[in-house]
């Protein structure tokens, strides 16, 4: 294992000092001269036609400076892909969920803006609302989007091998249905933006987005303005988890209001608004069928999934694709069938959320694996080891696996959790459960794009400056990317200047999602840094009249090997280049991989092209209170194959944060809908974990050193959210013999399960 000076070290987030001082600027901290406050009038009905919209009374209210409606837009539709575009930033024809934007108001203060909303007259013709995807799919159900038959936005079919024959040859067949619920991201910072529209048509917008370059393109389309006229700046983001990837209508509305009023306009969601109207995790119903041999070989598996899209596409089709790919890729199974349907309902649109369809797939699959293990009287870890993926394999669904540490994850998690010992000495109401996962560790090129750019330059004084398009949303990309550059250029990472996530100055990066930044932005950074390193050596060779092979770098100086006196400093090299040779020292890197082969079928998602897959195993230990059904998660042992941990401290941070969200999704988080309205839109009634609920976590980092990843690294951001639910639910079964197949496993559900068992 190669030893590095900086890569692999536990270095705190480089932004931490600003953040602990309270001087890190978030969007709401930005105050511009003459800034107005924007508020949005949203539909209070889940499904209705708009028959009349009259803003005249609101316009007369003193303090109101601008009002915009659909008439002020080009009425373009958007989504993350043009083929799925179905949402307008302002509607004046039809509303499809409680939250659809109808008008935007900018006023001198928030109170007046709010008052103005009440003065806007909207008349509706109410339509029947559809809140259950099964109802929405039925023939004869009202249509939510014109010409989308049966409200089915997307269907994915995948078949590998011969599924019927394989089930025919199985020794044992198990079938069951699993459901997972929606989830709210609950970033501590709500959606917020400040927009400025200059008289010359230049647009500047400060916004807490995970993908500024993508947002620029989308705003360009919606506003009918060249992308180059739009400058997006993302200082800091108070949490994303997928909620801040797409274009948020309020972002376009703030620009429209800024244009109309001639003043900067801020729009910030209230917490209630954030819960009520923003995207959520897609809820799913999955029918699964597994066929196995007595020796534990899974010969066939099948999933039929119905995914609740909500009112608009957002990431829906891609999330369904991931649900398919991850179900199909985990384990060496030759015969696979996947049928997925993405169904519109009149509820919050499903969007990107940590794990992106994989937690949903993992829940059903990993509980099925435990059910199989029980039937075969086989240890659940042994069953998984028997079917585990190996490095350098291509799966039946043609996904290329490069590095793979799944078996190592299983073995190390087993050992660290004292699995055998604890299974032998079982105490009442205590149990252990295991679950594994796979995910993309470098984003994917399923859409044809997976780009990230970086620029590394040496300033005239010899100091290194890094510019990256990638956005740090708290996960630490700023830190690990400078670590990578620092390693290659042999400097202290703290001395590297950094510009990130600014569309005017940084090369484009698709965004922070898909657990792609370490791999993709890292690849761009290493490319650029290696190029600059070569330039430095070439210059030094010239200045020292030596050959490059005879030189080495140490402490920002280039030495003749073996000499302590024949040297030239970075500062001298820079001065020589800039002022004598009149050449800047600058290099670019751009990643857009992997190569997409003909194995990839964009209809079935067979051959889904990710540059590297990641794997993990979680083992949960739970203690159950039989009197209340409360599940206490005592310990989580987690082994994650990350290729190479650029910064183990930050990798642990992602694992620990992901597990907390996973535990919440499994046990306590439940968005309650009533006729399309979320009736628990606050932290009191929608329960995320507090510090009191913390569980002991033993994070094990498995380094498989991916052959293509930067320093061998792959992604981690979303992974810890994926196997948490099945690990806990399998532990519950081990503890009390109650099989949970529907999330969340609230105390009521667990308690009922215990009582039902007692009655038998």
């Amino acid at each position: 294992m190669e030893e590095y000076s900086v890569v692999g070290k536990r270095i705190p987030n480089r932004d931490s000092v600003e953040k602990v001082k309270g001087s890190a600027i978030f969007i709401d901290d930005i105050k511009l001269k003459g800034m107005l406050y924007g508020k949005i009038l949203r539909s209070h009905l889940p499904h209705a036609k708009i028959t009349n919209l009259d803003v005249s009374k609101a316009q007369k209210l003193i303090g109101v400076k601008a009002i915009v409606t659909a008439k002020d837009t080009l009425r373009e539709r958007f989504s993350i892909s043009p083929t799925w575009a179905d949402k307008r930033v302002l509607e004046n024809e039809k509303v499809r969920y409680i939250g659809d934007e109808i008008a935007g108001v900018a006023a001198v203060d928030e109170d007046i803006a709010q008052e103005a909303l009440d003065l806007i007259q909207v008349d509706f013709e109410e339509l029947q609302g559809l809140f259950d995807p099964l109802e929405a799919m039925k023939p004869g159900a009202p249509i939510i989007h014109d010409s989308v038959e049966n409200n089915i936005s997307k269907v994915i079919h995948l078949e590998c091998g011969n599924i019927e024959e394989a089930f025919g040859n199985a020794d044992l067949i198990l079938e069951d249905t699993f459901t997972t619920q929606a989830q709210a991201h609950c970033s501590l910072e709500t959606h917020s933006c400040v927009a400025v529209y200059e008289p010359n048509g230049q647009i500047k917008i400060w916004v807490n987005t995970q993908a500024p370059h993508a947002l620029r393109q989308r705003l360009s389309l919606i506003l009918g303005v060249d992308a180059s006229k739009i400058h997006i700046i993302t200082p800091f983001v108070g949490g994303g988890f997928g909620s801040k990837i797409d274009l948020e209508p309020s972002q376009a509305i703030s620009v429209l209001l800024a244009k109309k009023s001639g003043k900067p306009v801020r729009i910030s969601n209230t917490r209630k608004e954030q819960f009520e109207v923003t995207r959520i995790r897609h809820a799913t119903i999955s029918e699964m069928k597994f066929g196995v041999k007595h020796d534990g070989t899974i010969v066939a598996k099948q999933a039929k999934v119905i995914m609740d899209n909500g009112a608009y596409n957002s990431h829906g089709p891609a999330v369904l694709a991931y649900n398919n790919v991850m179900f199909s890729t985990l384990y060496r199974v030759e015969n696979i069938k996947y049928e997925g349907s993405l169904v519109y309902t009149n509820k919050n649109w499903g969007g990107a959320f940590r794990g992106y369809g994989d937690p949903q797939a993992s829940f059903g699959q990993e509980v099925m694996m435990d059910m199989v293990a029980e039937q075969l009287n086989m240890d659940p870890i042994e069953l998984r080891l028997k079917n585990a993926n190996n490095p350098n394999e291509t799966t039946a669904n043609k996904v290329r696996i490069t590095s793979c540490g799944l078996k190592e994850c299983l073995r190390q998690a087993k050992e660290a959790s004292n699995w055998d010992e604890k299974k032998e000495k079982k105490s009442k109401y205590r149990g252990m459960g295991v679950a594994s996962m796979t995910y993309t560790g470098g984003g994917s090129k399923g859409s044809g794009l997976n780009f990230s750019g970086a620029t590394v330059q040496m300033n005239p004084d010899g100091v290194i400056h890094l510019l990256v398009g990638a956005t740090d949303i708290g996960q630490g990309s700023n830190t690990i990317l400078t670590q990578m550059a620092a390693e290659i250029l042999a400097v202290d990472p703290g001395t590297i200047g950094l510009t990130a996530s600014d569309t005017d100055t940084t090369l484009p990066c698709m965004g922070t999602f898909g657990s792609r930044v370490t791999y993709c932005a890292g690849s761009a950074v290493t490319q650029a840094a290696n190029d600059l390193r070569l330039q430095i050596l070439e210059n030094a060779a010239e200045m020292l009249e030596a050959n490059i092979e005879d030189l080495e770098i140490k402490g920002k100086k280039v030495f003749m090997k073996g000499s302590t006196t024949k040297l030239v400093s970075y500062a001298e090299i820079a001065a020589n280049s800039f002022y004598k040779k009149k050449k800047p020292l600058i290099a670019h890197g751009y990643y857009n991989g992997p190569e997409v082969t003909e194995d990839f079928d964009p209809i079935s998602y067979r051959g889904y092209p990710s540059p590297a897959m990641v794997f993990a195993t979680h083992i949960a230990e739970v203690q159950i209170d039989p009197g209340t059904g409360k599940v206490d998660v005592i310990h989580f042992v987690t082994a994650h194959d990350v290729g190479k941990a650029i910064n183990p401290l930050l990798v642990e941070g992602q694992i620990e944060g992901g597990i907390a969200q996973g535990i919440g999704w499994t046990l306590t988080e439940d968005l309650k809908f009533e006729n399309g309205r979320i009736i628990n839109p606050n932290f009191h009634d929608y329960k995320i974990l507090t510090i009191k609920d913390i569980t002991k976590i033993t994070p094990i980092i498995i380094e498989t050193i991916d052959p293509n990843g930067p320093f061998g690294a792959k992604g981690i951001g979303e992974c810890a959210m994926v196997p948490t639910a099945p690990a806990i639910v399998n532990a519950i079964y081990d503890a009390i013999g109650v099989r949970i197949k529907d999330l969340p496993a609230t105390p009521e559900i667990v308690f009922q399960g215990i009582k039902q068992k007692e009655l038998r």
Binding site: F26, C186, Q661, N682, F683, L689, I691
Partner: protein
């Protein structure tokens, strides 16, 4: 016409005389009138703790406190706890332990930690969880926050 009230308040050791709208919250006063934007608005309804400040020695959700209640009172915000340009030890340990990810909950978390240590120099794990329960974090899962707090406890012993 909005009713306003003249108040004298001390924030981070500095005295201010301010004309305050009666319905303004302490959070709004700090952020808007005094430009102390380190204190964050996470929910504006007292449930997330991002707006935690120390008022007359007690930690409060400043979104639930009327600004006029700061009249003749002392307020400590995140901007006021560093020592002569250096980080306060609690701030230093939050940095070093990896307890800071997005940073939005961090000011509130640090102030509540300080308030706890001012009251109980040697808190048990139960005490820590009790004090910090009202400060939500969605990024870290709290593990490294507890690490940071434990190091701070050792420091102050």
């Amino acid at each position: 016409m909005k009713k306003k009230h003249q108040i004298q308040t001390t924030v981070n050791g500095q005295e201010y005389s301010l004309l305050i709208d009666l319905k303004k919250t302490l959070l709004e006063m700090l952020r808007d009138d005094l430009n102390l934007t380190g204190t964050k608005k996470g929910c504006d309804e007292g449930e997330c703790g991002a707006c935690s400040v120390i008022l007359n020695g007690k930690v409060v959700n400043s979104c639930l406190v009327l600004a006029v209640e700061a009249d003749k009172a002392e307020v400590l915000t995140i901007e006021g706890i560093h020592r002569d340009g250096d980080l306060h030890p609690i701030q230093r340990y939050f940095v070093d332990s990896g307890a800071v990810q997005c940073g939005f909950c961090t000011p509130g978390m640090i102030l509540t930690t300080k308030a706890m240590l001012d009251e109980i120099p040697d808190p048990s794990e139960e005490d820590i969880k009790h004090y910090l329960e009202g400060n939500l974090c969605r990024c870290t899962g709290y593990s490294k926050i507890i690490d940071a707090v434990n190091v701070a406890i050792k420091h102050f012993k």
